[in-house]
């Protein structure tokens, strides 16, 4: 290690510190944005340092640099354009795509390192192990994340896709990938063998994610995010770059913890998710079925709801997947604003897994300019329901299913919003059909609940109009 290498290492440590500080600041809404910028600052430092370092130690030629510059330009433009134009409802799939490309890049780096060594008679295990692991993990995460993105986008069916013998095929592919990986560690660098690892891993990634229900995809994305972190760390070992090792390990560990937290909030184990979802609810919810039992159901009109809301003192809005699906975040914010101006105290009760991605509901509401102090987390919201005159449930179902308190059903034990503790409840959804978990919800037939059957976007707009008339009348 030369003094120059030493200095480069120190700068990498500094940029790693900025990554950590940035992540730390992302814990609170008030500092999160600055945290992300600090993390980006760390990235700029790491990249600039690497450029200097690579230029000094260069063993290549201008073609390599040209390939890099063109590639980076293409990738950067694609990334920025996507990031700028994506609809907030499509954030989950975009995150998944960015994760896929990260994993792919890590695999490509390891592959290139391997190719550069094909003239060696024997690779040191300290290099070959990380290379092979990187190709393995990176390819799985590349293919898996793309499939997950496809499911989230609806290009690939959200149904758990399985076929007879799927599990056998799965195990077979995994064995091929692992076998080739082990063989590739020893002897002279063998390119075809590494290609087998690559292809088998790609296939395995596809097969792994295909059978997972679309609604579980976000947890899988988070898990694959952690995988990419590990792949990047392996790339760091392969090319001896501390920047990659630190940042990769950081994301690998952080992503794992985040995944576990998400899974816990959904009352599932990560293992169970990987082995296949418990239902295909996204399909069921696509339209109200005609066989609904409407006895015991009190139906409301937009006017009923408007009067109830206008008379209330405290209103809590519980948004769910239906609100996101209908893209009704602006309508709900408008209604809330109208009511607030009219003197009603309106807050949002946000379940951690309301919708299809943890925390996504908050992003949607933030997009509609809802200040974050109006978004109550589960605990806060449940403390407030007791004192709440009207709980307005918009396109949510499982997250406020009181049956979760009873054992023996698909949502048993899941922490829920105590919507049924409110003095009265209004539910906006299109029909009586169940949500993701595929079970019926006693809340809807509770005497104090009124159902307003409508698409979330249209229904909220109608209520807003009715409130306006009522207020100005």
């Amino acid at each position: 290690m030369s003094t120059f290498d030493f200095l480069v290492g120190i700068v990498y440590l500094a940029s790693a510190t900025l990554f950590v500080v940035g992540l730390h600041m992302m814990r609170a809404p008030s500092t999160a944005r600055r945290g992300n910028l600090i993390s980006a600052g760390g990235m700029v430092i790491a990249v600039l340092t690497t450029i200097v370092f690579a230029t000094v130690n260069a063993g290549g030629n201008w073609i390599g640099w040209a390939a890099l510059i063109v590639g980076v330009a293409v990738g950067a433009v694609y990334g920025v354009v996507q990031a700028r134009t994506v609809q907030m409802t499509s954030i989950p799939q975009l995150v998944s795509i960015f994760n896929a490309v990260g994993g792919g890049a890590a695999a490509a780096v390891a592959f290139a390192e391997f190719v550069a060594h094909t003239d060696h008679t024997q690779l040191d295990l300290t290099v070959s192990i990380p290379i092979v692991l990187d190709v393995l993990i990176g390819s799985i995460t590349f293919a898996g994340s793309l499939i997950a993105a496809g499911k989230l986008q609806g290009i690939i069916s959200g149904k758990p896709l399985t076929f007879p013998g799927a599990r056998v095929l799965n195990v077979l592919v995994a064995l091929i990938a692992l076998g080739a990986a082990v063989l590739a560690l020893f002897g002279a660098p063998n390119l075809p063998l590494l290609l087998v690892v690559l292809v088998a891993s790609l296939i395995f990634g596809v097969l792994m994610v295909l059978p997972i229900g679309g609604a579980d995809a976000p947890v899988v994305v988070s898990l694959l995010n952690a995988f990419t972190g590990l792949a990047v760390a392996m790339a760091g070992f392969a090319i001896n770059s501390q920047a990659l090792i630190i940042a990769g390990a950081l994301v690998g560990a952080a992503g794992t913890i985040l995944t576990l937290q998400m899974a816990k909030a959904m009352n599932r184990s990560v293992g169970a998710i990987i082995l296949g979802g418990f239902g295909t609810a996204d399909v069921k919810t696509s339209a109200g079925s005609g066989s609904d039992d409407l006895t015991n159901v009190r139906q409301l009109t937009a006017d009923d709801v408007a009067i109830q809301l206008a008379y209330a003192q405290h209103v809590l809005i519980a948004p769910g997947f239906g609100l996101a699906a209908a893209q009704a975040q602006h309508e709900v914010a408008e209604l809330a604003k109208l009511l607030t101006d009219h003197g009603v105290d309106v807050k949002y009760a946000i379940h951690p897994v309301a919708g299809r991605m943890p925390g996504h509901m908050n992003v949607l509401l933030a997009e509609a300019n809802v200040p974050y102090d109006q978004m109550l987390q589960l605990d806060e919201a449940n403390a407030a329901f007791g004192n709440c005159d009207v709980a307005l449930v918009v396109g949510a179902n499982d997250v406020c299913n009181p049956d979760a308190r009873k054992p023996g059903n698909a949502v048993s034990g899941m922490p829920i919003l105590d919507v049924d503790h409110a003095k009265s409840v209004v539910v906006i959804k299109r029909s009586m059909s169940p949500g993701y978990a595929g079970i019926s919800n006693p809340l809807f037939t509770d005497p104090k609940t009124g159902m307003f059957f409508a698409d979330a976007k249209q229904g909220l707009a109608d209520i807003t109009t009715a409130v306006k008339e009522y207020v100005t009348a």
């Binding site: 730390h24 944005r33 980076v72 630190i246 950081l250 992503g255």
Partner: protein, 106 residues
């Protein structure tokens, strides 16, 4: 050689510990931006793309450099921009009452 390996392993293990500790108990409000933000951080793989560009000297090397460049750049640029776009939407409370300390980072 073995000294380098030990240094790298130590860095790896300690970074894992930092990662675990830095995440413990984030509010669910920020789960999505947090995931996106950590996603952006592994875009540091672009530094790896730069390194392989500097040593590439075969057609396969050039192609892999190009691929790594495209993918890594999409990850890092897109990741930071979309995270920033999400977070910028989290507007400060407009009401008078100041944020409670509970919600704040220590």
């Amino acid at each position: 050689m073995i000294e380098t390996l030990f240094g790298n392993l130590a860095i790896f293990v300690l970074s894992l510990l930092v990662g675990v500790e830095v995440i413990s108990k984030i509010p669910s409000t920020l789960h999505t931006p947090m995931m996106s933000g950590s996603n952006a951080i592994h875009g540091v793989v672009i530094a790896g793309a730069i390194t392989i560009a500097s040593v590439a000297n075969s057609p396969a090397g050039y192609v892999l450099t190009f691929i790594a460049g495209v993918l890594a750049a999409a990850n890092v640029f897109g990741g930071y921009v979309v995270t920033d776009r999400m977070l910028q939407m989290f507007t400060r409370p407009t009401s008078a009452k100041p944020e409670t300390s509970k919600k704040d980072v220590s």
